[in-house]
């Protein structure tokens, strides 16, 4: 009985010791208190901070191939990942990528846990209230698709004039058709059809009820592959906005530098080359 009690007490003692170890890291790193409070309050000089640290900490949500995912060996791969590494190289700092759920990215950026976010993210008005965005590194693109055996050829979006065309209700693409084809009298209003989902429009395309569908380029390529449809034209002219890197609010020096680097990477063809590498339109 006594021996058993001793063993039990040893068990308690052991757990106490273990928890002492467990508790220590919570109490110990109190010295850098000044540092974590800084990014939230005062973000000017963010670029200098990153340069001094020699490291750019970037958050992403690695479940969105071909933009970002994790390969079998645990490496971050994808278009965004290659791009941010190229940016880091130009900045002259090491890039450390951290994976977290998409929903936690903005909060982590606001709290200074990470320096930037690259996650195929678009600069919406709601997000703009919380964080800042660089210039887009990749514009949104649209695609005109036709039936597999179609003889239609398009060189510019306006070539769609007069043809029966479908788009998803309430999308930018539908707005473009109404504004540029219907309102200008190029296409009669009864030749324009709206669908709840883009894949429904693709089905009508396959069955011959439509001659064209205008939609987002990335899902369009996937739909075309699955349903034997033909991609006729990929264009930025009908689309709006693009994907940007998010940075802490008010980090104006960082924004200026990243904007400059992104423009440089677009101009020298790096972005185009990476898009091709990852099969992006």
């Amino acid at each position: 009985m006594q021996k058993q009690t001793l063993i039990m007490l040893a068990f308690i003692a052991a757990s106490l010791v273990m928890s002492a170890c467990g508790g220590a890291p919570a109490a110990q790193p109190t010295q850098p208190t000044a540092q974590p409070t800084q990014p939230a309050a005062q973000t000017d000089g963010k670029l200098a901070q990153i340069r001094a640290a020699g490291k750019l900490i970037v958050g992403t949500s690695a479940d969105y191939p071909p933009y970002e995912s994790i390969d079998e060996n645990g490496n971050f791969v994808g278009f965004d990942m290659d791009l941010i590494r190229a940016v880091g190289e130009k900045l002259g700092v090491e890039v450390e990528i951290r994976d977290m759920p998409f929903d936690s990215l903005i909060a982590s950026l606001q709290e200074g846990k990470i320096d930037a976010v690259i996650a195929a993210m678009q600069a919406t008005a709601e997000r703009e209230e919380k964080v800042d965005f660089t210039i887009p590194y990749r514009m949104t693109k649209d695609a005109f698709i036709g039936a597999g055996n179609t003889t239609i050829t398009l060189n510019k979006p306006e070539d769609a004039a007069g043809l029966t065309i479908g788009a998803q209700t309430g999308t930018v693409q539908e707005g473009w058709i109404q504004k540029n084809l219907v309102a200008t009298g190029l296409t009669p209003a009864d030749k324009v059809f709206s669908y709840e989902r883009a894949d429904q429009a693709a089905l009508d395309l396959a069955s011959g009820r439509l001659q064209l569908v205008l939609m987002d380029a990335e899902p369009a390529l996937e739909l075309a592959k699955q349903n034997g449809l033909k991609v006729l034209l990929i264009t930025e002219a009908t689309a709006e906005g693009g994907k940007s890197i998010a940075i802490p609010e008010g980090a104006s020096d960082l924004k200026a530098e990243l904007d400059r680097i992104i423009q440089q990477l677009i101009d020298d063809g790096t972005v185009m080359q990476l898009q091709d590498k990852h099969g992006l339109p």
Binding site: I12, S19, P25, A26, T30, P36, S69, D71, D99, S104
Partner: protein, 216 residues
């Protein structure tokens, strides 16, 4: 054959999260045991004001979803104390589990017959001595079955720490599923790993229960 190949690659990738899951669970359970035992003793034998304080902690923590405690620790508290995602997540789970374990140990302490305490005091032990060497050793034995239940719950709650970016088993399964478009395989592997961990935990605890059973 291709399936076996896929299964192996998927398994090799997800199993790297096993150690993270085990560490998070171990830290959380240890933190929880300490909080649980200390608070339970305070709740049963402490000053009335201390009893109220413990009850308030237990009620509030049990009322708040664990994920909220994790967010508070990682996004709010760590403005002042530099906590890594791992420690924020594991300690948050520990604080939450501590509240549940307080109730487990309180029940066990109260289940020890009052005569034990009276007898210990009668032979000249102080209250603390009596708790330490007479009441607590018996109470810990009584607490084991309920504690084993709590351990498996904490193991599964450890999936929540991914919300702050800790790559445990479930997140690794999500990553594979996003890459291979084979959710069944990815989450199937995760399921097997959790099943194995739970079985090992329950077996170990059953052994402990047998080993320290009271002959009454």
């Amino acid at each position: 054959m291709e399936f076996v190949q896929d299964l192996l690659t998927t398994f090799n990738f997800i199993v790297q999260g096993l150690w993270v899951t085990i560490s998070v669970t171990a830290v959380a359970l240890t933190t929880g045991v300490v909080i649980g035992i200390v608070l339970a003793i305070a709740r049963v034998y402490g000053h009335p004001s201390l009893q109220v304080a413990v009850t308030v902690y237990s009620v509030i923590i049990r009322a708040v979803p664990v994920i909220v405690i994790i967010f508070i620790l990682f996004f709010v508290i760590s403005r002042y104390v530099n906590l890594s995602p791992f420690w924020a997540g594991a300690l948050a789970l520990g604080f939450a589990s501590g509240a549940y374990q307080t109730e487990i140990f309180r029940g066990a302490l109260q289940a020890v017959q009052p005569g034990q305490m009276i007898a210990a005091r009668a032979i000249g032990m102080s209250r603390l001595q009596a708790i330490q060497s007479v009441v607590l050793p018996q109470a810990l034995r009584l607490a084991l079955p309920a504690w084993g239940n709590e351990a498996t719950l904490v193991l599964k709650d450890s999936t929540l720490v991914f919300a702050v970016g800790v790559p445990e088993i479930l997140r690794r399964a999500q990553q594979v599923s996003a890459r291979t478009f084979e959710p069944f395989l990815a989450f199937g592997v995760a399921l097997l790993l959790y099943l194995a961990l739970t079985l090992i935990t329950t077996q170990a605890l059953r052994w402990l229960e047998r080993r320290y059973r009271l002959q009454m």
